[in-house]
């Protein structure tokens, strides 16, 4: 089973929908609300997103070794099935 991490904002509608998507599919994931982290952790998250070529828009999702940004169930499905 691939490790899934969701970087989110507690105020973000699409982060809520992303979490709901994986809950509905009964796929375990770790969720980190960026806006509830201390400044050091926030800087770490921003650095990771930037190194993945992304800006600081949420949700930012890591599925196995691949990152994607935005609520896109078709993309989530593709990455879950990707060998």
């Amino acid at each position: 089973m691939k490790k899934i991490t969701i970087y989110a904002l507690s105020t973000c509608l699409w982060c809520k929908k992303t979490k709901q998507y994986f809950e509905d599919k009964k796929v375990p994931f770790e969720a980190v609300d960026y806006d509830r982290q201390d400044p050091e952790k926030q800087a770490e998250i921003r650095k990771e997103m930037k190194s993945a070529g992304c800006d600081t828009s949420f949700p930012f999702i890591k599925i196995g070794g691949t990152c994607t940004q935005g609520y896109d169930p078709a993309e989530f499905e593709r990455l879950l099935e990707k060998k």
């Binding site: 105020t11 509608l13 828009s57 949420f58």
Partner: protein
């Protein structure tokens, strides 16, 4: 002013602004209500109605690009999605916002739909 009152005020303030840009509030009323509430709360916290789906940093110039309605700063990207990033606003011809997909800025710049 309470969050509920501020939600109404933000709706009143934003409508004519986005109308001129060719956008309207999302017809998904529940989503619009949730997002406006988040913005009213962010404004109560910071003094500014920032986008609820983009992170603020310690770079004020960058933060200004996510003050709602942030459409003018991301015009080509949002036009490609027919919606803004948080989905509060959609193109005027959109009737089913659930069909619209979030395309990340990096994908948009790479021409990926």
């Amino acid at each position: 002013m309470s969050v509920q009152e501020r939600k109404k005020a933000l709706r009143f303030l934003f409508e004519p602004l986005v109308d001129k840009l060719g956008y309207k509030f999302t017809p998904a009323e529940g989503d619009a209500d949730f997002l406006l509430e988040q913005e009213a709360e962010i404004e109560a916290l910071t003094g500014i109605p920032y986008c609820p789906c983009q992170a603020r940093t310690d770079d004020r110039a960058e933060n200004m690009k996510i003050v709602c309605p942030c459409i003018p700063f991301h015009r080509a990207h949002y036009d490609a999605m027919k919606r803004c990033w948080c989905g509060l606003f959609v193109h005027k011809d959109v009737t089913d916002p659930d069909k619209l997909v979030q395309i990340s800025e990096s994908k948009f710049k790479a021409g990926i739909k």
